[in-house]
């Protein structure tokens, strides 16, 4: 699976996070040439219009707006709470889900459409069974 040497790092948390370990990580979407729908992850057919083999890799923007969120207080054992689960519409297209950090987890601090940056960093110290570290994406209030 991994394109990189085992035991090294960081590896990308999801396959559509590109440039892990470089100065310039980014998220990559697939855009349908026929209908402009944007997808995350590998596929060959557009599920919006059904076009085949018309999906082109496109670099997604590192800026977006908060669409909706939930503040999670109860999760699975070993996962730190609370945290903000956020769904973010990226400028230029594409919607992604992730943790919103850099702001206290309180509805009073969160407004729909608030401007967010996509930032990259270590995946909260989580490592896989081979000891590899990972780089993840997060959202932060725009500076």
């Amino acid at each position: 699976m991994s394109e990189q040497a085992v035991g090294n790092g960081p590896l990308p948390v999801v396959p559509y996070l590109k440039g892990a370990g470089t100065e310039d990580p980014y998220l990559e979407g697939l855009k349908c040439d026929a209908c402009n729908a944007i997808f995350l992850g590998d596929r060959v057919t557009c599920s919006k219009c059904g076009a085949r083999d018309q999906l082109q890799a496109t670099r997604l923007e590192n800026k977006g707006k908060l669409y909706v969120y939930s503040i999670v207080y109860r999760s699975f054992p070993g996962i730190d709470v609370p945290y903000i689960s956020a769904i973010v519409d990226l400028d230029g297209g594409g919607t992604i889900k992730g943790n919103l950090i850099g702001v206290e987890a309180d509805p009073a601090n969160l407004t729909f459409d608030m401007e967010l940056d996509v930032v990259y960093g270590d995946a909260l110290g989580r490592k896989d069974k081979d000891g590899n570290s990972y780089i993840s994406y997060f959202f932060k209030p725009a500076v």
């Binding site: 999801v14 599920s47 669409y67 939930s70 699975f76 709470v81 990972y134 994406y137």
Partner: protein, 380 residues
Amino acid sequence: MSDVYVVGVDMIKFGRFPEKTVPQLGSQAALMALDDAGLTIQDMQALYCGNLGQANAMVGQRILQEIGQTGVAVVNCANACATGATAFREAWMSIKAGVFDCVLAVGVEQMGRGLLGGGGGGEGIPKEGLLGSGTMPAVFAEAGMEHARNYGTTFEQFAKVSVKNHHHSTLNPKAMYQIETPLDTVMNAEMISYPNTKLMCSVNVDGSAAAVLVSEKKARELGLNRAVKVKASVLTSDPYSDRDLVMPDVNGVTRIAAKQAYEMAGIGPEDVSLVELHDCFATAEILHYENLGLCSDGDAGRMIDDGEVALGGRIPVNVSGGLLSKGHPLGATGIANIYEVCTHLRGEAGDRQVEGARFGMTHVIGLGSACGIHILEKVA
């Protein structure tokens, strides 16, 4: 094509039965539904069985091994929380197709405790709490927050759904809980995923429900006294929407199902006397008032504020107590809500009876997504 009737339907009281097996639980409801119809397992030409937790383990056949191995066709199906409705619909279709005159549908589930969903899976490291949350309370919280975003719906309005459904269940002896939960109790309960507190999450319970479906010919032979007519049976999958793959869209899938169901039944939302809809979380119920056409878009908050959806209101919703309080045994839910509606149409719902009920609607969502809707009509 023949009309299809429910002539027997029942459910066990939902609860926690770790000492029983899944087939034993399913058998209980199956026998109750057969008794309700005045028929035996020997009269059944097929069994459609819905179960999620043991989807690969021939639950339908194992039910027959408990109550009568007649050699008939058995279909086991799994469709997330739409599993029971899917089994019922498969049974309905077999009669519509003219293949059978008399079949049994069973939905059954034995649940563990705790959170559903999330967990991550896949390659690498767990993603829960790293790339947001995949837990069901959070996913449905986010769906509710979309309504808050669009219409200003408040935490308090979402919480009122739980107050209502927990109140309804005090009138339903088959519900898991019969406990009043005032608004401050609901809002001050442990926050699971804002804005869903613990009392705004459906209850994990064990349960089963079953129905006997027959053709018009068979129904006339048996007598139509307590028969309920299936006016519409619809199953849909999630149509493409821009955020669907990141944020499951329970709205689009319900809206197309509702439209088809009303057309098939030849009625409109104004004709419906009661609705059992998929209140897996309090946030979800609000969305479905609009998705099912019970009110116009943006009016759901007012509906809960004004009590229009409470027993005695304009269009009572989840008078059984709903998934929030009756409980949500995933594979059984879609047939349990058919039991509830049939009970009202038969005028047998006791203290929670919706007076004069003529048409009733059931609705379930299987996240991923599936929507099953049935419209049922009083006959006699």
